[in-house]
C-alpha cells in the first residue's frame, strides 16, 4: 500500500447494537485512480460509504482525506453536509435518490447549491437580480448542460427526474454528484439494474471522469465486468473485514475471494470468474 492516497481509512469499525457491520477495516484509495470495493451481499460495503460520507458516525477508526494541495481533512470529525461542502466528497446511493419532482436540469442546479448561494450574495443579490448573480447562474446552467451532454441526457433536461427510465436515473445521479465538483466520487453500485450496453457506457463514463476531471473514484459494484475493466485497485470485504486487495487480476485469482463468493452464492462466484476472464 504505497503511493499517493486521497483517502486513507484506518482501522474503521462500525457497530449497530450487536451487529458488527465493519470490523477493523483499513484501506486506501489512490489519487486519480478507480478503487473498487467488492464483496458478497451484507459484507458492509454501503456501511463503509455511509461512514466516509458522514451519514454514520463510526464506532472507532479514522478516515483521512488529503487534497491535491496537501490539505488533510479528518472525515470522522465532520458531519453530514460538511463532508460534501468542505471535504469535496460526493456520493450516489444504492437505491437512487434523485429529486423526482424536479427536472433533470434542476437536479443538477441543486447540486451547485453552495457555489450559487455565494454568488447570490446569500439570496439578497439574487433577489434584486444583480448582474454578477445572473452570470453565475448562467455559468451553473452551462456546467449542468455539460454534464447532461456527457451522460447523454441533454434531450431530457426538462423532464422530471422521476419520469426518466432507470438507467438514465443512474447516470443523472452520477452527473449530479459531479456537479458538486468533488475530489472523491463514491458510487454505490452504479451498474445495478443496467443492461450490458448501459454497463459498457457507464465504464466509459467513469474512465472519462477519471481522465478528464482527475476525480478519484471509489466504487462499490457487483457487476464484475465493470470492476475488472475499469478498476486500478480492488478491495474485497466479507463480514465486515477486508479479505483481500490488489489489482483486478490478483483479486480474481485469490482463493479467499473465490471462497467468499462461493460460500454465499455459487452462481455468483462462477459469474465472477467467468466475467473476469
Amino acid at each position: 500500500m504505497s503511493g499517493d492516497h486521497i483517502l486513507s481509512v484506518d482501522r474503521l469499525s462500525m457497530r449497530f447494537g450487536g451487529i458488527v457491520a465493519v470490523n477493523d477495516l483499513s484501506f486506501g484509495a489512490e489519487r486519480r485512480k478507480i478503487t473498487a470495493l467488492i464483496g458478497p451481499n451484507g459484507a458492509g460495503k454501503t456501511t463503509v460509504f455511509n461512514c466516509i460520507t458522514g451519514f454514520y458516525k463510526p464506532t472507532s477508526g479514522t478516515m483521512q482525506l488529503t487534497h491535491d494541495d496537501g490539505r488533510a481533512i479528518r472525515l470522522e470529525r465532520l458531519n453530514d453536509f460538511r463532508i460534501s461542502k468542505q471535504a469535496k466528497v460526493a456520493r450516489t446511493f444504492q437505491n437512487i435518490r434523485l429529486f423526482p419532482g424536479m427536472t433533470a436540469l434542476e437536479n443538477l442546479m441543486v447540486a451547485q447549491h453552495n457555489a450559487l448561494m455565494r454568488a447570490s450574495g446569500l439570496t439578497f443579490l439574487g433577489l434584486i437580480g444583480a448582474p454578477s448573480w445572473r452570470s453565475a447562474e448562467q455559468h451553473a446552467i452551462d456546467l449542468a448542460r455539460t454534464w447532461l451532454e456527457r451522460v447523454g441526457l441533454v434531450d431530457r433536461a426538462d423532464e422530471a427526474a422521476g419520469n426518466l427510465p432507470y438507467g438514465d436515473q443512474r447516470r443523472l445521479e452520477i452527473a449530479r454528484a459531479m456537479c458538486t465538483e468533488p475530489a472523491l466520487l463514491c458510487l454505490d453500485e452504479p451498474a445495478a439494474g443496467l443492461n450490458a450496453r448501459e454497463s459498457a457506457s457507464l465504464s466509459e463514463l467513469l474512465l472519462s471522469i477519471r481522465a478528464g476531471q482527475g476525480t478519484s473514484i471509489l466504487l462499490i459494484e457487483h457487476d464484475m465486468s465493470v470492476v475488472m475493466e475499469i478498476s486500478d485497485h480492488v478491495v474485497v470485504m466479507d463480514y465486515g473485514v477486508k479479505i483481500a486487495e490488489g489489482t483486478p487480476q490478483q483479486v480474481r485469482d485469490d482463493p479467499k475471494v473465490i471462497a467468499a463468493y462461493l460460500g454465499t452464492d455459487e452462481e455468483e462466484a462462477i459469474a465472477v470468474m467467468e466475467s473476469g476472464t
Partner: protein
Amino acid sequence: MNAPPAVSIQASHALGAAFIFKKALISALVALVLFSLMIGVRTEAGPTGQLIYWTRFGDLAAMVATVFGGSIVVELLRQWWGPVGTIRVVPTNVKSALALARRGIAPVLLIFTFLVPVIFYDQRYILDLGILVLTYVMLGWGLNVVVGLAGLLDLGYVAFYAVGAYSYALLATNFGLSFWICLPLAGILAALWGVMLGFPVLRLRGDYLAIVTLAFGEIIRLVIINWQSLTGGPNGVSGIPRPTMFGIPLTPGDDGLAAKLGIEFSPTHRIVFLFYLILALALLTNWVTIRLRRLPIGRAWEALREDEVACRALGINTTTTKLTAFATGAMFGGFAGAFFATRQGFISPESFTFQESALVLAIVVLGGMGSQLGVALAALAMIGGFELFRGLEQYRMLVFGIAMVLLMIWRPRGLIGHRAPTVFLERSQAISSDLVKEGHG
C-alpha cells in the same frame, strides 16, 4: 398483458361493484354503531332531575341509510373522476382550450382584482370581503413557502400572524411609531419567532413536527392572554392607529387626504386604501416567493421536500435551509398580522386561535401545495364560499365539508396539481403532481 382489454375492464367493473358494496356496508355498520347512542337514544334530565329517555330508531335508520347510499355515491364518483388508473380521452382542441384558459386565468384575475374598488365602490360589503380574501391569499402564500415548498407541516402559522399584529399594535400605541416603520419591524420580529420555533423542531419530522408547531401556536396565544401588563390580556389592544398614506391621514380633517386633494371626504377612501395596501402586500409576497423559487435557496427548499438525505449528500446545510423557510414564511405572516391590526384598530387573542391556522393550511392544501395560483383560487373559494353560504346558517359548515370532501376526491393534490420547473434548457414542461413529493415534515 395479452388479454383483450375489454375483458379486463369488465372484470374490474364486476370486482368494483362488489368492492363498493362491501365498503358501503362497512361504512353503514360504523355509522350504526356510532349513531345508535348519539341519535338512536335521546336522554334528557326530567323536571325532578330523573333521567328521561326515548328512542328515535326512525332517525337512526335514515342516517344509516344515508351513509350507505352516500358511500356508494362517493365511491362511484371516485371511480369516474378519480385520477388513479383512469384514462380520460379528451379531444386535443378541448385540451388546448383548457391550457389557454389556465394560462389566462392569472392575468384576468389580477386585472379584475385591481378593478374591484372601481366596480364595487359603493358596496362596502364587497370591499370588506375583498380585503378579507386578500388577507387570506397573503397568509396562504406565506404558509406555502413552509408547507408547499419546503414540505414542513406547520400547524401553528397563526402564531406569526399574532406576533405581527401585536408587534404593530404595541409599537404603535406605546411608542407612536407609524405603520410604515412598524411593518418591516413586525415582519422581522415574526421572522425571529420563526427561527426560534425552527430550532427545537429541526430534528422532528411529520406528525411530531405538526404537533410541536401546533403547540407553539397555542403557547403564543396563551402568553398573549396571560401577559396582561404588556398585551392587555383577553381585553386585547384597542385604539391602534389607522394607516396613513405615507404620513397623510385618511381623515375628514383639514390635513386629511381628501382635504388636500380638494375632494369630498368619504369613509370609503380608507377602505379602498386598505384594499390596495393588502393587494400590494400580497403581490409582494407572491413576487418574492416566485423569485426565491428560482434562487438557490428556493431550489434547496424544494429539494428538501423531495429528499432530505440527498440534500445532505450534496453539501446543503439542511438546518439553515429549514430555518430560512420558517423565517420567510413567518415574515409574511407578520406583515399580514400588522395589516390585520391596522385594519381592525383592535386586536385580541380571540383572533388568533388554531382555527385560523387550520383555515390557512386548508387553503394551501386545497390550492395544490406549492402553487401560487392554486392558493389564490383556494382562498377565494374558501373565504368567498363561506360568505356565500352565510344564509344557510348552521348548514354552512356541512355544505363546506361536503365541498371539501368532493374536491379532495376529484383532485387529491389540490386545485392546481402540477409543478412548474424553475429553470429550463429548451422549454418548460409542467411536472405532474404524482411525481412531486409532499415532504416528510
